[in-house]
Symmetry: C2
Subunit: 191 residues, 2 copies
DNA sequence: GTCTATATTTTGATAGAC
DNA sequence: GTCTATCAAAATATAGAC
């Protein structure tokens, strides 16, 4: 792994753990085993490096979610596969974490990958739910976009609860709660 | 409003906007119109001041939520009253925001008000849902604690979506999605 | 209680040698 | 490409006068 690569990966880890404001160039350099000069040779500064790191994390999240949601099965099964996938709830979401950082949100450039990630995620989930609806899998009153936003929010909010409690349990409860409500609304559950 | 009071209120605002790491003693002093000596006379330092601010925000959140959830009506109505209350989704939650800050989460003292707030919130919602269940308002398979965690998570996650998008809309979608799923499971919806 | 002075460390970078 | 100065500003206090 070359230096630029190590800098990006180190930034990804530190942004995840400490956020944008809490991550200093010095900390990145030490984590990457690179000197000052080296970092400023490859990147113009902290914002550019953070942007590269965030873009990569956004791509990773998107690819992973797509893989989980495109496994076969009914709409409920595919949404549940996304919701129930194993996660380290105490670490939270690499991308979602950035949304709470004002330095990120106030910069159009830095916010873009975050915005795009969640816009895509909500859209993709809405698609799947719409497919389930078209297949008669859900009762027709279910709104695909509202439901998709709810699912995305449960995961992000679950991380907040887990970190507040210092335990993964509230995350799992939240996700189970969502899956149960969704499953109850699917045709399969009506005998 | 005396100096100590202004310092606490200023800290509450800055913690909300910038988080713990992003809030400096100097910024607090300027916002409060107080000098260094004054701040360090009333508080031992940033952690103690932040603790006072966070405790107050936690109490405020709890009191507000209790007021919303104890208005009359069915369980679904009371939960919906909490979910649908007006909020500035782009600003997020004063308490939940702290959960993403490692300096807060890694300190048992600073984490406590955050932990207690969400433990109470989940517990209170679970109670209401259990009451609705006992009244035959929901179908019996609904788990009160899972559902309560889901509701709490939707609100916190809704803030993430709103900030990512730069718009309140995803927050409202998420909340509507949750309310719709809950209402659909209530006895009232079955004709 | 409040103010000013001082101090240490960190932040986020630039300059220039190798 | 990488390294070692160097730097101005901010973060987080402490000391002591008033």
């Amino acid at each position: 792994m070359d230096t630029a690569e190590r800098l990006i990966e180190s930034t990804r880890e530190l942004l995840w753990e400490r956020g944008y404001t809490g991550t200093s160039p010095k900390a990145i350099q030490q984590h990457a085993g690179a000197g000052q000069g080296s970092m400023y040779h490859h990147f113009s500064g902290k914002p550019e490096l953070a942007l590269a790191a965030m873009r990569r994390s956004a791509d990773q999240l998107t690819a992973q979610a797509e893989a989980q949601m495109s496994g076969g099965g009914s709409a409920v099964e595919r949404v549940s596969a996304y919701l129930l996938r194993e996660r380290d709830a105490l670490r939270g979401c690499r991308v979602g974490r950035m949304a709470m950082d004002p330095d990120v949100i106030d910069s159009p450039e830095l916010r873009r990958p975050v915005q795009e990630t969640f816009a895509w995620l909500r859209g993709r989930l809405a698609e799947i739910i719409a497919e389930g609806l078209a297949a008669g899998e859900f009762d027709a009153a279910l709104d695909p976009r509202d439901t998709a936003a709810m699912i995305t929010a449960v995961v992000q909010g679950g991380y907040v609860l887990a970190r507040a409690e210092g335990s993964q349990e509230p995350f799992h409860q939240a996700v189970r709660g969502a899956v149960a409500l969704l499953a109850a609304r699917s045709t399969a559950s009506r005998k």
